[in-house]
Amino acid sequence: MMNAASRDGYGAALLDLSGNDKIVVLEADLGKSTKSCLFRAEQPQRAFSMGIAEQNMMLVAAGLASTGMIPFASTFAIFTERGFEQVRNGIARPGLVAHICGSHGGIHTGTDGSSAQSIEDLAIYRTLPNMTVMHPCDAVSTRALTKALASHNSPSYTRTVRNKTRQIYTDDEASTLEIGKFSVLTEGTDVAILACGVMVQEALDAADTLAGEGIRATVVDVHTLKPFDHDEMKRISEECGAVVTAEDHSIIGGLGGAVAESLTSHHPVPLERVGVEDTYGMSGQPTELMKHYGLTASHIVDAAKIAIKRRND
């Protein structure tokens, strides 16, 4: 079922939270795109347009947070990066609880082309002490996790995507998700596939294909890249002995990087990373681009077999 994009879940969550008078929404002329416009329509006096000026928006969020307000500042993922140093020095360093949402993350953004397709956001925000970094896989889980941020005690960055994706969770299932905890979708013992965002649906399809060949895969939705669930990572890598990561993001520093760091420290096993191979995107339909850049279920299947072979060799 392709019913919504994760940005719709973000907008729905802000609407759910609109009765909380501590919540303040900041926009940078992309409220209709990020879906914070839904909150604005409901609570115009607590939604502020900052114009096309992301640096200022980040520090306005910091000032609000310093008084106990709960700001949600959103724009395209790529444009949050315009204010990266503001996030670093103005929000994360003083530990001010401001929440940033970057929509239109990844190659999946499509026809806008490479300037709009952030493939490095998860990597850079993950390096900041105090930051929580999330990239949920569907609208339902995005809604649940965004709502959870209202009582979260760290600043955060959440990536959403522009285009509709398959619904992975029911509302009841999503309500059990916890920030910082892996969500195991299927359990197997041959290989573990850890995915985030749009690649979770591809990982589930890959697991189906592998099952047809007698290979049983664990599939994990890593909706939170930081704090990283090292305990669960260790358990799964011990059980499966071979790991694949799948993300619509550079293979450098994102989910693949986080998993590599964790495995290296806790339980080294063969790891194959499916992601954008250190290059920029281009215009095209999401499905065309995902195929071009190697971000499909079939690429995950191939990677899984390589990881298993490396383990067995």
């Binding site: 607590r46 520090l59 609000l64 106990g68």
Partner: protein, 279 residues
């Protein structure tokens, strides 16, 4: 509007002049002990900070996090010795705290830092960010029914940062009246005179063109400073006050000297400075 904000000081002009002179000595001593820091911009800005704490800031050392407090946001956060000296003069810090400036694990960090120092609300060190922070606090005040004021101190060189002008637009667009910017126009930045690095032109006209109420003053004259503060409080803001200052003010060899933007005096220079700053 809530009326539970802390009381403010009402020091006389003569008292403010005395306090500022003492702060100047502490600034030079801090930089000398650390053998590093920014004496020039601290000496140019100190009268402004003392004026704010002595005349208007509703902020209490006994409750530095009071939600109704006014905020003094030192956006030019490298002038931290001036902030620490004033926080000491007004009871937020002990004299011994000043000895921790730039020292290992010291509460007086190299640049002002809200996580380390009581009375410091804004973590600076990266220029261009303080006004935006002050706007966030002003928005919060509007939403929560508090009338606290954001007093934001900028440098003139700092006004080269684009974010300053993003914030200048946003303040007027959102009619944030409880925000005042005071610009320490000392004419010198890190490498050289401002006019050599990036000419700022007519700063008064620039702020006025962005919709701010603008006033010029001598940033070392406590009477003018007091009057400008009263003007900003009585005016429907946002207000910008251009404080014409002298970098290194009070120490002859530092005055208007770019080399003392970020350098400590040697032993001989330190003795001379202490003599010049003796009451």
């Amino acid at each position: 509007m809530s009326d539970d904000s802390p009381e403010f000081n009402q020091k006389s002009v003569d008292e403010l002049i005395d306090i500022a002179r003492g702060c100047r000595r502490e600034i030079v001593k801090m930089v000398k002990r650390a053998n590093a820091g920014h004496p020039g911009g601290s000496l140019s800005v100190i009268d402004l900070i003392v004026g704010l704490y002595g005349r208007t800031m509703r902020a209490s050392p006994s409750e530095p996090k009071h939600p109704g407090r006014d905020r003094l946001i030192l956006s030019k956060g490298h002038a931290s010795p001036a902030m620490y000296a004033a926080l000491h003069a007004f009871g937020f810090l002990e004299e011994s705290d000043l000895h921790s400036y730039r020292m290992y694990n010291g509460i007086c960090q190299g640049h002002v830092d809200s996580k380390w120092t009581p009375g410091v609300d804004f973590s600076g060190g990266s220029l261009g960010m303080g006004l935006s922070f002050g706007l966030g606090i002003a928005i919060s005040g509007r939403l929560s029914g508090r009338d606290h004021h954001s007093w934001v101190i900028l440098g003139d060189g700092e006004c080269q940062e684009g974010e300053i002008w993003e914030a200048a637009m946003a303040a007027v667009h959102h009619r944030l009246e409880n925000v005042t910017v005071i610009i320490d126009v000392n004419g010198i930045q890190n490498d050289d005179f401002v006019d050599q690095q990036m000419e700022m032109g007519d700063l008064s006209s620039k702020w006025a063109a962005f919709g701010w109420k603008v006033r010029d003053m001598n940033g070392h004259d406590m009477t003018e400073i007091s009057e400008a503060i009263d003007w900003a409080k009585a005016t429907v803001g946002p207000c910008a006050i251009l404080a014409r200052t002298t970098k290194g003010k009070g120490v002859s060899f530092m005055e208007n000297n770019p080399s003392f933007h970020g350098k400590a005096p040697n032993d001989e220079e330190f003795e001379l400075a202490m003599q010049e700053l003796a009451s």
